[in-house]
């Protein structure tokens, strides 16, 4: 469904991505793990058109979408739920959802039906539909950000650190929701610092370090990989110290 081939990107003179190649197949959950500043968020930004790719190609379905604008990519079916939720704090929950469907060109009625779907998925949001998004708790904001993204009726959902800053139980719910979405037919590209949680629900994973993909494989293999365990799963310290 999505394929990046040798994609480079830079912030000014600083190369942020070096020849990134990855692919996500239909119906997969693929996770991108790596440390802070490794280039995970940048990768998503390049895919969703927020940042230009300096070279390389990105294809989505049958189309080459390299350096399309964000709104065109949203219409094509790529949805990027950004890091830190980024809900529109001084707009109501319902307004946030409505704007999620901004690019769909759906009628008022269809948007309302789509909103119903989100409320069924996240009943908390319905309770708070007239509240300002900024007044929601972190977990509720994450649900709103996810629901807002789903309002664009995406084929590919890209989630950037959806469990960041959430209580473990809430983070767990978010991950369960991601799995449910995949069962409903969505394809998911998941960026997480919590590598263990991400690998548990993913089919495959990529490990990114300083802008390069250094490792790829099935989620199972990555979970068992000693390098990954040491660097991202916090295992192995005991062996070192003992």
């Amino acid at each position: 469904m999505l394929r990046l081939t040798s994609v480079d990107a830079s912030y000014g003179r600083v190369r942020a991505l070096r020849r990134i190649s990855l692919h996500v197949d239909d119906g997969e959950i693929v996770t991108l793990i790596g440390a802070n500043g490794a280039g995970k968020t940048t990768t998503l930004a390049v895919i969703s058109g927020l940042m230009p790719a300096a070279s390389g190609t990105i294809t989505f379905g049958e189309q080459t979408v390299t350096n399309w604008g964000p709104s065109r990519l949203v219409r094509a079916g790529i949805c990027h739920v950004p890091e830190g939720r980024q809900v529109f704090g001084s707009l109501s929950v319902a307004d946030n959802l409505q704007l999620g469907a901004y690019s769909t060109g759906l009628s008022r009625q269809e948007i309302r039906a789509l909103m119903r779907e989100q409320f069924e998925r996240f009943p908390r949001l319905e309770e708070r539909r007239t509240q300002l998004a900024g007044s929601l708790s972190g977990g509720e904001q994450q649900m709103l950000a996810l629901a807002r993204g789903l309002m664009s009726r995406p084929k590919l959902l890209m989630l950037d650190e959806p469990s960041l800053g959430l209580a473990p139980i809430i983070a767990h719910q978010v991950m369960a929701e991601v799995q449910k979405l995949r069962e409903e037919g969505l394809t998911v590209l998941l960026v997480e610092q919590n590598a263990r949680a991400a690998l548990r629900i993913a089919d495959r994973g990529y490990v990114i370090e300083t802008g390069r993909i250094v490792l790829e494989g099935s989620a199972r293999d990555l979970l068992d990989n000693p390098e990954v365990q040491r660097a991202y799963l916090g295992k192995g310290y005991r062996e070192i110290w003992e």
Partner: protein, 294 residues
């Protein structure tokens, strides 16, 4: 000098009139600021264009006032859109300071062209509904002042409806809150910026049209009006629509009281003294909140 309550009331009434104009100009500043983070120093020129185009098209084509006003609003809105397309958009990756300087340049350019087309003469515009003053609680007010205040009220309500109830209005707010997330919703930033320039220009033109019968209009009135509107916007909190209106009215009343009670020589100075005080004490403006941050 004896000051009576009636006199003070009279100052307040005339202050509310000029204050309404400042409020409309402040609204224009906030519209563009919210969309771009840029202070558009050509805002005053939109006001000038509103009055001048109305006067000129009544003169040249003998249009009735309403038609001339419509022409002025449409043309000024177009000029606002052109300003965005021709000067702002090509430089959109430049820093905010560069963009602000571009607007200063655009302002000088528009004023220059207006001077060439219409010459240096002041142009009168007849009052919309006669000159017979109306007495309110002992103070008098001209019908044109009521037009000014009423128009400001109508524009403010219209803006509120747009930003509260239309998808386009909400999308513009979303861009102001978080441009990044708005883009990920598929909202096109450049289009929202265009709309904000168009709206700001239209509102400016409306201010210029209702003001013209009171002060006469001239190719160079935009500078001072723009600066006053800017003071009003800062006073109320840049980017805060309601704050801008409150700031405009407050500034108008302060000016009128200062001119009446102290000396009319200091009328213009008062706005800038207020500006400096606000910037020193509460730079986010009296009603400034998180949305008004730079």
């Amino acid at each position: 000098m004896d000051i009576t309550a009636v006199q003070v009331w009279q100052f307040i009434l005339s202050g509310l009139t000029t204050g309404s104009i400042y409020a409309l100009i402040a609204l224009g500043f906030s519209l563009v600021y919210n969309a771009t983070g840029v202070i558009n120093f050509a805002q005053g020129e939109f006001v000038m264009l509103g009055g001048m185009i109305t006067a000129a098209s009544m003169e040249a084509w003998e249009l009735p006032l309403w038609a001339a006003a419509l022409v002025a609003i449409v043309l000024t809105t177009l000029i606002g859109l052109i300003l965005d397309r021709a000067a702002i958009r090509p430089a959109r990756h430049a820093s905010v300071v560069v963009l602000i300087i571009i607007t200063v340049g655009a302002s000088i350019f528009i004023r220059g062209v207006a001077g060439i087309i219409w010459g240096p003469d002041e142009r009168p515009l007849t009052a919309f509904s006669g000159e017979a003053p109306i007495t309110i609680w002992g103070g008098t007010i001209t019908p044109q002042s009521l037009w000014v205040i009423g128009t400001t009220l109508v524009v403010a309500i219209a803006m509120w409806l747009i930003f509260e109830y239309t998808v386009a209005g909400k999308a513009m707010r979303a861009c102001a809150i978080n441009a990044h997330a708005a883009q990920l919703c598929g909202i096109e930033l450049s289009r929202m910026i265009s709309w904000s320039f168009g709206l700001a220009a239209g509102v400016g033109a409306i201010a210029g049209i209702v003001l013209a019968p009171i002060t006469m209009t001239q190719y160079n009135i935009g500078t001072m009006l723009g600066l006053k509107g800017f003071c009003a916007a800062i006073l109320g909190g840049l980017g805060n629509g309601l704050g801008g209106i409150a700031g405009g009215l407050l500034l108008g009343v302060l000016e009128a009281l200062g001119a009446g009670l102290i000396s009319s020589q200091y009328k213009d100075a008062i706005a800038f003294v207020v500006l400096i005080v606000v910037l020193l004490i509460k730079p986010s403006g009296l009603l400034g909140g998180e949305e008004a941050e730079g």
